[in-house]
């Protein structure tokens, strides 16, 4: 085990999230063993420390926030998801939410690691100097990805809402629904996550917009359109919920749909980038390289 190797650390962090998910699952289904009580949180925390170290090492390699390829973006979203959960865990004791987050991080994390083509070594190319040409773009990208992490958590909370609602409507309560929080609390939690997510996404767009006004040629139309559509989408959901026009199951379903559009948009932007650039992503293209082209 090399503690300085990003991929090995990511495998290990993913494994720990998987372990936390398995223990949380056993706990939920009443297999009592006293050490289990706080174990999932401890394991998630340990996984998060390793995850942070992995991204830090990759950050040193790429001289910036590691968001240069699909694997890095997925891992950064998952890192944000776990960070958001750990912050929320300080406020509410939501162990089952932790299990859901750990499960998602395990599956998505290991899946992204299983395909080496998602992790191109772009920083090893001859002309590579730095991932981001300006600290403002780096800030924009990292805040945007962090907001995606919050939206991931929002999706999990909305899924929990739908599971609980389904149980209430069907009058069938299985063990899973017995351990889910009340639907009113889930909707309140979802709204808070949406508020914070929209706030971060807005900040990210303002920061990115400042860069775009100076160098409009560096941002692809696809990237710009998708980002704006997503922001408008989430902002509309926020406004409609606030005004009492979108709530309950429709709110949850819309949030989940928007999240899948968000994840899909990452692939879209990436594909476009590959077609047009040798560097990983158009939005983070170095202006000097771009002008040379």
């Amino acid at each position: 085990m090399n503690v300085n190797d990003t991929r090995e650390l990511l495998w290990l962090a993913g494994g720990l999230y998987g372990l936390a998910f398995a223990i949380g699952f056993l706990k939920t289904f009443k297999i009592n063993w006293t050490p289990f009580r706080e174990t999932p949180l401890a394991v998630i925390s340990l996984g998060f420390i390793l995850h942070t170290r992995a991204l830090y090492i990759r950050g040193l390699d790429v001289h910036g926030c590691p968001l240069g390829n699909t694997l890095e973006r997925i891992q950064f979203i998952l890192w944000s998801l776990i960070l958001a959960f750990l912050i929320l865990r300080l406020l509410w004791r939501l162990d089952l939410l932790g299990s859901f987050c750990a499960g998602l991080s395990f599956c998505a994390g290991w899946l992204s690691l299983l395909f080496p083509q998602l992790d191109s070594n772009y920083w090893l190319s001859e002309n590579y100097e730095k991932l981001f040409s300006s600290p403002w773009i780096e800030l924009h990208a990292s805040i945007a990805i962090f907001s995606y992490g919050l939206f991931s958590l929002l999706t999990i909370v909305c899924s929990m809402y739908l599971v609980q609602r389904k149980a209430l409507l069907a009058r069938k309560f299985n063990k899973l629904s017995s351990f889910l929080p009340p639907i009113q609390e889930l909707e309140v939690a979802a709204m808070r996550l949406l508020t914070v997510g929209v706030l971060f996404l807005t900040i990210s767009i303002i920061v990115g917009g400042m860069h775009w006004t100076r160098h409009p040629e560096l941002v692809s139309h696809a990237k710009l359109s998708v980002t704006l559509v997503l922001w408008i989408g989430y902002f509309m959901v926020f406004v409609l919920h606030k005004t009492g026009k979108l709530y309950g199951s429709k709110f949850s379903k819309t949030s989940i749909t928007l999240y899948f559009v968000t994840i899909g948009s990452l692939a879209l932007v990436n594909t476009r980038t590959k077609e047009t650039n040798t560097t990983p992503q158009s939005v983070i293209t170095n202006p000097e390289n771009s002008s040379n082209e």
Partner: protein, 355 residues
């Protein structure tokens, strides 16, 4: 009845398992005669420690002795005290000795011997009986150990098996559903339309969970000033509020849980009423319970988002499912408790041999 031999633990009891209500009423001890009963019981030859468990469903006498203890003397004493024919008592009672007493107490304390399997009230009653015996100084080394281990076994059974899983009482089922929707029941605002038994049962369950906003309304509220004003009486009983029957439709949005339990046979809440109420509380769920037959709430309201409508069949089904789930755990629990009882009995007999 044959004369028994020397025994360490003995139990004479009567419960719903062997006696119907009328027989239990005859055997059960009135609360005012407990002191007198204990005084006479202590005078029985050979009895060293003793304890009476007297609840609405069971009357049990636990006795312990290191020397010869005649069980017949206890049976005769109880039949004489309650003016019963010994044959009657023999028919409607059970006797246990030694490790059987340990097993029995474990089952009673854990609730698997209760009429409502898994109910928790019995543990409190056993604790109270033990505490009473301790105060009277009639519980000694053997019964102390037996009952303290019994409390531990009861706790184990509730924690490690599903005998207390789910609610089986109507009011408790409703509270559990309200908890799944709103979280703390104490914060739920309850409106009850009607003043029947179901309404009272529900208010009692909500009140026991510290609900501060219970409101009652009923048709008798306004129309007859000379008649008994049942809604006001109920509101007073449960520390709630009475609402004029003419106003309830305009106030629906103020409540989280609405229960209808009337015999009016008419629809009292329709789709338009709920749509109007939900417009005023869009993001807050509404829990409706129609406990009336014929129904008081139009079924189509269940199609409105964030509205959860349950009728009596739904509630009964949930209670029955929970009960089935508890019953399926009884044998597993009984087996585990029997092992624990045997282990305790072995320890008790070993200690006795050493001493």
């Amino acid at each position: 009845m044959s004369e028994s031999i020397s025994q360490s633990l003995f139990l004479l009891g009567c419960s719903h398992q062997v006696a119907d209500l009328s027989a239990r009423e005859k055997i059960s001890l009135p609360s005012g005669s407990i002191d007198e009963f204990y005084n006479g019981l202590g005078k029985i030859k050979g009895i060293e420690e003793y304890l009476l468990l007297n609840t609405c469903n069971r009357t049990e006498i636990y006795a312990a002795s290191k020397s010869n203890l005649s069980r017949n003397l206890i049976i005769q004493y109880l039949s004489k005290f309650r003016n019963l024919d010994p044959e009657f008592l023999n028919r409607y009672s059970y006797q246990r000795s030694n490790h059987e007493v340990v097993s029995h107490l474990f089952e009673v304390a854990s609730g698997i011997d209760s009429q409502m399997v898994g109910e928790t009230e019995i543990l409190g009653q056993v604790k109270k009986a033990y505490s009473d015996a301790c105060k009277r100084n009639i519980s000694g080394k053997m019964l102390n150990r037996l009952f303290q281990k019994g409390f531990q076994a009861a706790k184990w059974a509730r924690t490690h098996t599903g005998i207390s899983r789910g609610q089986v009482n109507l009011g408790n089922v409703l509270c559990e559903l309200a908890r799944r929707i709103f979280g703390k029941v104490a914060n739920c605002r309850l409106l009850v339309l009607g003043t029947g038994e179901v309404a009272e049962n529900t208010m009692e369950a909500f009140k026991s969970r510290a609900s501060q906003a219970i409101t009652v309304t009923g048709r008798t509220f306004d129309w007859c000033p000379l008649s008994r004003n049942k809604p006001s009486e109920l509101a007073e009983k449960f520390g709630g509020f009475a609402l004029s029957f003419n106003q309830y439709k305009d106030s629906l949005h103020l409540f989280d849980v609405i229960l209808t339990s009337t015999t009016s046979g008419q629809s009292m809440i329709n789709v338009e009423d709920i749509k109007r109420a939900m417009k005023k509380r869009p993001a807050k769920p509404l829990f409706l319970i129609d406990a009336s037959v014929p129904r008081n709430i139009v079924e189509d309201v269940a199609n409105i988002d964030n509205v959860f409508l349950y009728n009596m069949d739904d509630i009964s089904e949930i209670a029955n499912e929970n009960l089935k789930s508890r019953m399926s755990e009884v044998e597993k629990c009984r087996g585990a408790l029997a092992q624990k009882a045997q282990k305790l009995w072995d320890q008790m007999t070993q200690q006795r041999e050493i001493s």
